[in-house]
Structures are given as C-alpha cells and as structure tokens.
Amino acid sequence: MSGARGSIKEGDQKKKARKHGSRNPVLVRGIGRYSRSAMYARRAMYKRKTKAPVTKVEKKIKERAPAKVVKTVGGDKNGGTRVVKLRKLPRYYPTEDVPRKLRSHGIKPFSQHRRKLRKSISPGTVLILLTGRHRGKRVVFLKQLGTGLLLVTGPLALNRVPLRRAHQKFCIATTTKVDISSVKIPKTLTDTYFKKKKLRRPKHQEGEIFDTEKEKYQLTEQRKADQKAVDSQLLPLIKKVPQLKGYLRSTFCLSNGVYPHKLVF
C-alpha cells in the first residue's frame, strides 16, 4: 500500500540524502493513518511528475503483430484468397477431465511420414519387379529415395530398365546381392528428378479436352548422362560374378508346379 518508498529510488537517493521512513503511521496492521490522496500530498508526488521519453520505443512495442493473414489459394472460382487467423481461440476449456485430442492428433503430412525398408532389401540387392512395363525383370537396387520409393537400375545395357523408381511393395527381394559400396550415385537423383511432369492447362470447352500435350515421354540428355555414369560403375561389378549378367538379362516367370509360397527367393 502506501507504506515504504519505492526500492528503486533507494539506491538513487543514498548518495544524496538518507531515506525517510514511512510518512504514514500505522494504526492497525494493514491500515495507515492517511489516505491515498493525503499521502500523495505528504510525499510531494506533485513535484515528481517526470515522464521518461519513452514515446518512440513505446510506439514500437505497442504495435501488435497482425492478428490475421491473407493467403492466396490456387484454383479458380473460389475467391482466390483466404483470411487465416493467427491467434486462435483455445480449443479446450478446462471443463472436461482430460483435454480432448484433435481428430487429426498424430496425423502427419506425407513429407514427415516414417519411411520403412524391408530388411531383405539393401543396396545392391537384385529385385524382381512385379508391376509396370518392366514386370518380371530382374533389377539392381541402388538406394531408397526421400518418399520411400526405391531407386533401381537394370542396368540399361542388360535389360532395358533405366534409372527408375520402383515401389517396395511391388518388388520381390531376392537373396542375391551385388557389392555396391564402391558405386557413387549422383546426388541429383531425387524424387523431384523422377517426378512426372504435368503440362496440362485445361482450357475449358476448347473442343479437345482430352488432348494432353506431353503424352509421350521425352528422353533428356541429363538422363542419358546419369544412366551412363551409374551403369559404367555397375557393369564391371556385375561381370565379376559368374552368370550374373545372364541372370539379370532373364525374366522371372511361374510355370507348372512352381508355387511362390514355397520358393526361396
């Protein structure tokens, strides 16, 4: 209350003058003799009305961060922008015993998913592709890419399978392995490198709606160069193992009496 002087001023005035005790005698504990306004006069606060030049700094602090952000949204006929609140109201008021978890609790976006790789697949393993235009072909596994897909190569000279992505679930991993530790794979081979390009701006009702521009795949020089770089390192390693070259050239097929669940790959 209006008892002791501010401790901040104590240090200041020590040099100048001895501090005065409380000018407000205590009647009963917690109650002083003089009121707040009387104390104002007794302490001569009317003489001590200095204002610190805080204006500029204060103004800066006063500026609050924006509460809303306007974000652009793709697609047409939807207004183009959305207003997103940055300071949201709480989603839990402590009336419930346990705070309720959001429906999306633990749901991560695809980029943050945990990628797994089967124990039987390691760099240099020979895989048998099961789907796609290269089904049945035996192929060498190089590495797992960021999205979890497997980077795989024929090599091109043996079975016409280029540097390509393959899905783990649609491959059989054989126990045959090539020692790939000395092969350097160019760092440019990532998912974005292999991603299919979509160049389709649908001009509505232009007559030919299904006329997609880039239907045919165009081979680029960079692809050829990368293929050459990897294969030139791989082929001598393959040639060292007897009969492996012919093995990679052949395709896998089932015939009478061959049951996949009984085969050891």
Binding site: V126, I128, R138, T174, T175, T176, Q243, L244, G246, Y247, S250, F252, K262, L263, V264, F265
Partner: protein, 155 residues
C-alpha cells in the same frame, strides 16, 4: 512292414517274396515323422503290436518306445541280442558302419537333394536351368551324331 517272429515261411517262399524288409531285432529303421524326424534307429525289442523299443546311440536318439507307424525299415540289420544295452547297440552299429553305408545309399542322397532343391535361391534356379540346358544340348548332339552314323551305315 510285418512282424516276423514265427519265421519267414509265413510270408516268403524261396522265390516269390512280397516283403523283403522285416521288423526284427537289430533292424535299422528310418524315422519318418515326429521329433526325431530323419534319424536312423535300431529296433532293439518289440513291446506290443504297435510299438517297438528303439535306440539310436550313434544318431542321437535316446532309447525309447516308438510306434511302428513312424518307422520306415531300411536294408540294414545289426547283430544285437534283444533288449541289449545301449553300449552294445553302439558297438554293433559302429562295427557294421551303418552311418557310412546310409550316407552312400541312394535313399539318403535323394533326401539330401530334396533339401538342397528346397533352399535354392532364384539365382541358383537360373544357374541350374542353364546347366540342364547345356547338358541336354551335349546329349542331343551326341545322339544326333550316332543317328547320323547309323543312317549313313545303312545307306
């Protein structure tokens, strides 16, 4: 598989014999299923119609009763008196060199081949295919040569 306590005349005339392997004391049998699958034992005694006392000291089978159903008789017999103790069964077994004879028999070799085939990897299967192909090629080549020689001889 027949119990032959009464002598051979019951089932086997001198020329016309249907059964060649009999359950007798000392008959070496192959265990077809159960915990000791694939091992050899000697029949030491017969307990009743369905069970035998069996012992395999050199093949890791403890002396025990075993039903006939899971035994398959082999060609080998060791000379051992009935209910002989394990020490003597072992002695007779080693004297007859049953383990060595078994390894050389085609029965054991077939089992071994089956095991190898089951654990073949995809690459091994490819190599086998190539080897078979080459072998057949050679055989056909020789055959053709002989045929040609024979046809030329005729002409």
């Amino acid at each position: 598989m027949c119990l032959c306590i009464f002598g051979f005349d019951l089932f086997c005339s001198i020329i016309n014999c249907v059964f060649k392997r009999f359950v007798e004391i000392g008959r070496v049998a192959f265990i077809a299923f159960g915990p000791h699958e694939g091992k050899l034992v000697a029949i030491v005694d017969v307990i009743d119609q369905n069970r035998a006392l069996v012992d395999g000291p050199c093949t890791g089978v403890k002396r025990q009763a075993m039903p006939f159903k899971c035994l398959q008789l082999t060609d080998y017999v060791i000379k051992v008196p009935h209910s002989a103790r394990q020490k003597y069964v072992r002695r007779a077994w080693e004297k007859a060199e049953i383990n060595k004879k078994w390894e050389e028999s085609s029965w054991a070799k077939k089992i071994e081949a089956r095991k190898k085939r089951a654990t073949m990897s995809d690459f091994d299967r490819y190599k086998v295919m190539k080897a078979k192909k080459m072998r057949n090629k050679i055989i056909k080549h020789e055959l053709k040569k002989l045929q040609k020689a024979a046809s030329q001889k005729k002409a």
